[in-house]
Symmetry: C2
Subunit: 223 residues, 2 copies
């Protein structure tokens, strides 16, 4: 019953990878336990927030001592569902796709890109790192034969919707969309966007905010 993470807030989910990276570092250093205070300090969060987040994993700490590092690591990995590796296919073998295929970090998230697909026939037969590139028309067969559930979409914006629908028709359950395009897909399909425009918009807004704040304060800064 508490194996479902139905209730874990998205903001908490988003902080888990940061905890995980930090904790893995501590584990390498041989640290046995760590307090929420220390984690918070390191990540620029409030201790209370870290405790709330940790409580979502089901792990309990010891007052005055903190939490067991390896227990926390395991619990976060489990809560995220990163403990059993999932195969994914990549669509689009351009520069971004190439970078994603070669990204070293995925394996620690339990994600493995097993194949890439591209319309450009000249790319097919080649490899992106260890990932073989196939022609797009083999997509359907590959998904069926290999029971892949996740598609990573790194095609140009204009093709994104079309390719996404193709993926859905092939039975893909979740799409990680890197194309700067909002997809319209059936409710049942999980879509996660990683949009550079969105990210840069937040950066821009923060910069603009800071600028106007400095103006108001008469920019008493050191330079």
């Amino acid at each position: 019953m508490n194996t479902t993470n139905k209730g874990i807030p998205i903001p908490t989910i988003k902080r888990f990878p940061s905890y995980l990276r930090l904790l893995k570092g501590y584990r390498e250093e041989g640290m046995q336990t760590v307090s929420a205070t220390v984690l918070a300090e390191e990540l620029g969060l409030k201790p209370i927030q870290v405790r709330k987040d940790i409580s979502c994993t089901g792990i309990e700490g010891k007052p005055k001592v903190g939490f067991t590092v390896i227990k926390l690591i395991d619990a976060i990995i489990h809560t995220l569902g990163w403990d059993n590796a999932t195969d994914a296919i990549l669509i689009g073998a351009g520069h971004l796709g190439s970078a994603l295929a070669r990204y070293e970090g995925f394996e620690s998230y339990g994600l493995k890109i097993v194949a890439a697909f591209d319309i450009d026939p000249s790319k097919c037969g080649s490899f992106l790192g260890d990932v073989p590139v196939f022609p797009l028309d083999q997509l359907s067969r590959y998904i069926e034969e290999n029971h892949v559930n996740i598609g990573v979409l790194a095609v140009p914006a204009v093709q994104a919707q079309e390719v996404a629908e193709l993926l859905v028709s092939c039975g893909i359950l979740a799409i990680w969309n890197f194309a700067p395009k909002d997809l319209k897909l059936p409710e049942r399909v999980v879509v996660q966007r990683t949009d550079l425009a969105t990210s840069f918009a937040v950066l821009s807004a923060k910069v603009k905010r800071k600028m106007s704040k400095e103006e108001l304060l008469g920019e008493e800064d050191e330079w």
Copy 2:
């Protein structure tokens, strides 16, 4: 006084690029006006939310008609501060850096990557698309001479903190961090993370959620 966007909620900021893409499409098609209802429908949002978001730009609509497409476009671009182009430098000319340097979309965000830097001397002198690659030890001089304010960080995680500090010491105001590492930097520096792990964590959580929900419902799905 209302040129500051101090009060605009981050979630609203994050939706602006989606509105912008859609509106630009409408402009190409020659549409003059659009209603919040239509925008909402297209993006899977509620009309009321779209109206709230739009109100942050200061644009007013006409009942029964909607909003003027080009007015909205201009207002969103202005609100995001994307109306005057900003130069940025890229640190790290690996696969990800290469993909970022070649990304076509940045110009429409008012972002221009003017130079890349890398420690690897063999990469220096080459180009990533149109972007020249320089040795890292020329970073400081380049920033000074060209008054660059934004740094795009695409180096390996282990080097991220060090390079970020270097950027800050060179006077960089904002860092867009693609390295899977949480940076500890002075308050005054704007940091925006684009973290694949975070994004994938959300995807994982949504999939897990959906899975357990289907279990409960006895998976009455079509396949």
